[in-house]
Symmetry: C2
Subunit: 253 residues, 2 copies
Amino acid sequence: MIRVSIIGSGNVAQHLIQAFSKTTDIELVQVFARNVASVSHLIPIEKTTSDFGELKDVDLTIIAVTDDAIEEVSKEIPFSNKLVVHTSGSVSIESLDCKNQQGVFYPLQTFTKSKEISFEGIPICIEAKNEQDFRTLETVANAISNTVYKINSEQRKALHIAAVFVSNFVNHLYQIGNDICIENDLSFDILKPLIQETANKILMLSPNEAQTGPAKRKDTQIINTHLNFLKDDNQKEIYKLLTKSIIDNGKKL
Amino acid sequence: MIRVSIIGSGNVAQHLIQAFSKTTDIELVQVFARNVASVSHLIPIEKTTSDFGELKDVDLTIIAVTDDAIEEVSKEIPFSNKLVVHTSGSVSIESLDCKNQQGVFYPLQTFTKSKEISFEGIPICIEAKNEQDFRTLETVANAISNTVYKINSEQRKALHIAAVFVSNFVNHLYQIGNDICIENDLSFDILKPLIQETANKILMLSPNEAQTGPAKRKDTQIINTHLNFLKDDNQKEIYKLLTKSIIDNGKKL
């Protein structure tokens, strides 16, 4: 039985606590939270602490705090020569204090506190500095997820950037769609089946095969009608740049 | 029983033929296709024609052809004073020859021939010039879809533009995510659960509530790391513009 502790009480920490609580292969020993009340609905109070000095030297300590705090938190850990990992897509494995064995346990997903999510379908990207630590991370990751990937730091950075494009930026395009609906007295609900299908198509087709629309068809008449219709300069600029990018992409193929 | 014919054999036409074939409330009388072989797997050959002169004057004729061809096709129709509609998000209702009663029957979805889709969940946006025609379109739309909206021409144009943002442009961001993965020896599959969850979140949260990521947090350090990492000028430019747009959007709220 691998003994695991979690440091943090944010979105990722809370979802990890829930995931480990459901599995029987991993023992969730302790959760560190500055305010233990924030996790009291997820774990018995006697398993929580807000004092770094009380942290137990378990097999794996997962630091799930904001990127900026990772380095400092790793220094506060009172024990050494144990495996300590962070969960960030952007922070170097070297940012962790080297008194412990460094690693990364990066679940690639967008977490929202108010929305439950099953960890099984979430890819976990792991990185370690030796084979034994890697095996430990793999066992822990497999206990909560069906897809575990070995990813090095450079790849993790690329993956995080790709995730910004396909998630953060995509959501912002939903925001623009929503704004256009509101301005024209339309319900955003009309767009939701299209949003779902656009995401579903990608499960069966490559993005290139799935591409449709006026830019793909190089339909300059429709493109100009749309640009004339858009009054917001920012929306207009995004429309122009993405249309150009789709057209240029077609030329490359 | 409302009698319907379809002109066209492309994506939308084929999906409509399948949808009407499944319902018992609507009689699909005839399909016009320049090459009848292209729809022979969907409808008995005796119900197809490639001769405009053979078109029967049914209750509703649906022109599901490319935008450019709608006006010309509507002129070819041999009968008059019947309801004739097109399925386009961009073409004016007035483009249809006024010898027949004009209308619009716009299913808001991204159609791919190779991918089956249930019409029930697809919003159909309808427009007509009188109450009786509207009722006919409403009955036909309700026979194949659970969500039918009354949308005027100006709103339809706005909706089509919003659809370009949330579908065509979103798919292009998937393409960029895919390109970044390939360049860094990563499987695009790693991103798929994130893509699905990003689309699913929008069913429960507003796009503003669902927004996460470095731009939302105004994390300039990460943003700069990402911009330094991106070597492709086009990807860099899109990253900059969408990041700026997310930050500006945060200021407006």
